[in-house]
């Protein structure tokens, strides 16, 4: 009896979480153009999605921005985290606290402040402004992820490396970077997701010359949800799922 209740409860929770996505996936295969009544299985929305060059272009731009901003934010963020961990300097605590302020401040605040900054500096809104903005909001997440990983290690390890003849650079490459690597990877994935996801900041800081996927979808949905969008959303859900599953299988095999 207790088992039934427990399993039933889990079922409800997962239903709560995944029902909307299941509906979305189902609808993307529905032949009906309007409404939700089932009119048979069809892949035509996928076909028309790939015919819609505007949407595909926006998706490609999104992936480019996400890859670039995640990579740059991870590089900058990892170095900053190592710096925070490795050196004691005036204002270190303040810097650390400011990171959390950045993470917690509402997107809209960052969006407006970045927009103001770009206007003041006469930066053309488009690819570069968007890239800079995405690096900016990803950076604190990378720093904090990597820093919290590093701070779990004895600082004497660095002294040991130097004692054994490794200079600053080799200490970083041979000791700190390998130790931080899981957090660096996590930071990159987090930044990538944040970037692909972002609507608010991107809405403010990009121009008509460079439209990315979330904004494109947003503008399409304003005129009613098109079935292509369902197909697109399904792909966006299933591709990461595939990657996660693959990585789990690979990790298990490695063990």
């Amino acid at each position: 009896m207790a088992r039934w209740i427990r399993n039933g409860y889990f079922l409800l929770v997962y239903l709560f979480l995944y029902l909307p996505i299941l509906v979305l996936i189902a609808t993307s295969f529905n032949a009906s153009k309007y409404g939700t009544s089932w009119q048979g299985f069809s892949l035509k929305w996928y076909a028309s999605l790939f015919d819609n060059s505007l949407l595909v272009d926006a998706a490609i731009r999104s992936l480019i921005i996400a890859t670039l901003s995640a990579t740059l934010a991870t590089a900058l963020g990892t170095l900053s985290a190592v710096c925070l961990y490795r050196y004691r300097f005036a204002g270190r605590q303040v810097l650390n606290a400011l990171l959390f302020v950045m993470m917690m401040s509402p997107d809209i605040v960052m969006a407006i402040s970045l927009l103001m900054l770009f206007i003041v500096l006469h930066v053309q809104l488009g690819f570069w402004s968007l890239l800079l903005a995405h690096i900016t909001f990803s950076l604190p997440f990378v720093i904090i992820t990597v820093y919290s990983r590093l701070s779990g290690f004895d600082t004497r390890i660095i002294e040991a490396a130097r004692d054994l003849g490794a200079g600053e650079l080799r200490t970083f490459l041979r000791i700190l970077l390998p130790l931080a690597l899981p957090a660096v990877a996590a930071g990159w994935l987090l930044s990538f997701t944040l970037s692909v996801d972002d609507v608010i900041v991107s809405f403010f800081v990009t121009g008509p010359s460079f439209e990315i996927l979330p904004l494109k979808i947003y503008s399409m949905v304003r005129l009613g949800v098109k079935p292509e969008v369902n197909a697109l959303a399904t792909i966006l859900f299933l591709v990461p799922l595939l990657f996660v599953t693959l990585s789990q299988i690979l990790l298990r095999r490695k063990k």
């Binding site: 390890i157 002294e159 130097r162 054994l164 490794a166 200079g167 080799r170």
Partner: protein, 368 residues
């Protein structure tokens, strides 16, 4: 003997302070090639700071440090010919035992085949050959300790620095490692500078002991010198248990002997120090040099101090007694069991006469 050996480490007039607090105060120290030197002192006395200055993790405010004849003040740690065994071991968690030990050699670009040979030889020496592929977290504390030693020693440094390296081990393992370290040092002929706050460890392992307090060196000497002829009260109290009697000089009898009053009792003491008549003195005696005897009547206590047994502790090899003298001072006596009278014991409250083995007393001026 020391004069014949060459100095491998020299510290001259070293001053170091943190946040206005002086850690090392104009310190001079010479370490000879191949010796086992121990820095002994309570925590905060600056002993670890000396190691960190030698390793290059800290810079001295002023003064000169040289290793093997080369001034190293401006050299970063990676360019110094010393290696450190850290208190926390500080093994690299992402490398196995072999790679940990090989790290220093790889940094020096030693050819691969030689690295392999030297690491294996080193692992054999610390009896960890079978553990080469393990990660540090899969090893016990004692094994990690040996990896840390191997990782430092494999580089054949001129000086090996050991920072409270045995602290994390339990008593039995610690004793074993003390013997192993000493053997390793003899075999390799490397200079060891060992930091500890454990006086027993310092006495049993070292060629010379440096007793430190608050950034200054109180005494440098062989374990025997430091224990038997402490230079001052701090050394006497820090290195083992000691009884301190108050006294006053009456007169000098000959260059080696003075007459003095000790806790109200007139007696002769051995001392070559120049004391003035009437000068206040401290007389130091180790518990094992105290001799107790029964004092049933006052006649048998002639020439001795009288007291009462307050407490007695059976220690297996010895019987340790706390005696309260008539003036209230408490002293500790540690007596070996006599084979003729294995059951000897005192009752609490028993009156005893307190004496000591003649000439084992250390007489110091009363510094106040």
């Amino acid at each position: 003997m020391s004069e014949l050996r060459s100095a491998v480490v020299e510290l001259k007039n070293i001053v170091k302070s943190y946040d206005g607090k002086t850690i090392l105060d104009r310190l001079d120290l010479t370490v000879y090639d191949g010796e086992f030197l121990t820095l002994l002192g309570p925590s905060g006395c600056g002993k670890t700071t000396i190691l960190r200055l030698l390793a290059g993790f800290e810079a001295a405010d002023s003064g000169e440090i040289s290793i093997a004849g080369q001034a190293v003040n401006a050299l970063p740690p990676e360019q110094r010919n010393v290696n450190t065994v850290f208190q926390s071991y500080a093994l690299f968690p992402h490398m196995n035992v072999f790679d940990n030990v090989a790290f220093g050699l790889k940094m020096k670009k030693v050819p691969k085949e030689e690295v392999r040979q030297r690491v294996q030889e080193m692992l054999r020496m610390v009896r960890l050959e079978e553990y080469a592929a393990r990660r540090p977290h899969q090893l016990s504390g004692g094994q990690q300790q040996r990896v840390a030693i191997a990782r430092a020693v494999v580089n054949r440094p001129r000086v090996l620095l050991l920072d409270e390296s045995l602290n994390a081990l339990d008593y039995k393992l610690r004793k074993e490692m003390q013997v192993e370290l000493k053997q390793l040092q003899r075999r390799l002929g490397i200079t060891f500078i060992f930091v500890t706050h454990d006086q027993e460890e310092a006495l049993s392992m070292s060629d010379r002991v440096v007793v430190m307090c608050e950034g200054r060196i109180e005494q440098i000497g062989t374990p025997r010198q430091v224990y038997e002829t402490p230079a001052n009260l701090f050394v006497a109290r820090f290195v083992g248990e000691i009884n301190v009697f108050d006294g006053e000089v009456l007169e000098r009898i000959d260059p080696q002997v003075i007459r003095a009053v000790v806790e109200g009792l007139e007696c002769t003491l051995r001392s070559e120090r120049p004391f003035a008549r009437g000068e206040k003195i401290k007389i130091l005696l180790r518990p094992e040099d105290m001799r107790l005897s029964e004092a049933r009547d006052d006649a048998s206590a002639e020439g001795r101090l009288l007291g009462k047994v307050v407490e007695r502790t059976y220690k297996g090899m010895t019987l340790d007694s706390v005696i309260a003298l008539e003036n209230g001072k408490r002293i500790l006596a540690s007596e070996f069991f006599d084979e003729e009278d294995p059951s000897f014991d005192y009752d609490p409250g028993e009156r005893v006469a307190v004496g000591w083995v003649k000439n084992w007393e250390v007489v110091l001026p009363d510094a106040g």
